[in-house]
Symmetry: C2
Subunit: 116 residues, 2 copies
DNA sequence: CAGTATCCAAAGGGATACTG
DNA sequence: CAGTATCCCTTTGGATACTG
């Protein structure tokens, strides 16, 4: 695609790719999305346990960004103490194709690098 | 995919996605790949001009990583002074699908965020 | 031309402690 | 439980100058 386009569309496409990358960037974004996606609904401390090595500070920060990007929905449940539940939005689910592509490419890449 | 898998495959897939992201990460990787892809063959200083804001230090560093990952091929031409040409490898071209997906998702995302 | 080297400011992110 | 706040070290990356 990027190879066959005429120049005037080029910049818009580059911006679109970068937008996507920005949304997914950060060491933990995809892991968080995957965790929530896998369990459909997931609480803060559960995600913290799911992902090896993440700190509460980072999780908090990344969740906020994902929410701002409307990929996840945050729901406060009226329990004692408070419970917070995260789930993917419809828009969040549209990432599945990309994540699948990245998974497949990653596997192919590993073979390529390690010398098939 | 990540949503429907049983746990024992989960970690491998997560690793594969991260591998892909690592390869594409860095502020300039995709822009560099696109530049080379667009022109088929491209020289160092040409890429430097193509990409707005990149420094020679960064371009040098990113090109090295892309080469290590076998996405691009570096050829030194015996001219005076030296010319260096970069082109995508076959493996590099396999990124096209992903870049296209990221482009399309980025456009959809923009609409979603800006409120259609 | 195609890089390397150096300096330095800003951002990233871990560890730990604290709060409603 | 679900976060915030703080300290502080590490990494990132821009600007500039230099080299074969």
């Amino acid at each position: 695609m990027a190879c066959t386009n005429f120049e005037k569309e080029y910049k818009n496409e580059m911006r679109a790719v970068q937008d996507s990358m920005d949304v997914l960037n950060g060491k933990w974004k995809i892991a968080i999305i995957s965790s929530i996606c896998y369990y459909s609904k997931r609480r803060f401390s559960d995600i913290l346990d799911d992902i090896d090595g993440i700190s509460n500070k980072m999780l908090s920060k990344e969740l906020k960004e994902l929410e701002l990007n409307k990929l996840i929905k945050r729901t406060v449940l009226d329990t004692q103490p408070v419970t917070v539940q995260y789930e993917l939005t419809e828009h969040g689910y549209t990432l599945q194709t990309i994540i699948q592509n990245l998974t497949e490419w990653g596997i192919r890449h590993r073979k390529e690098i390690l010398g098939k």
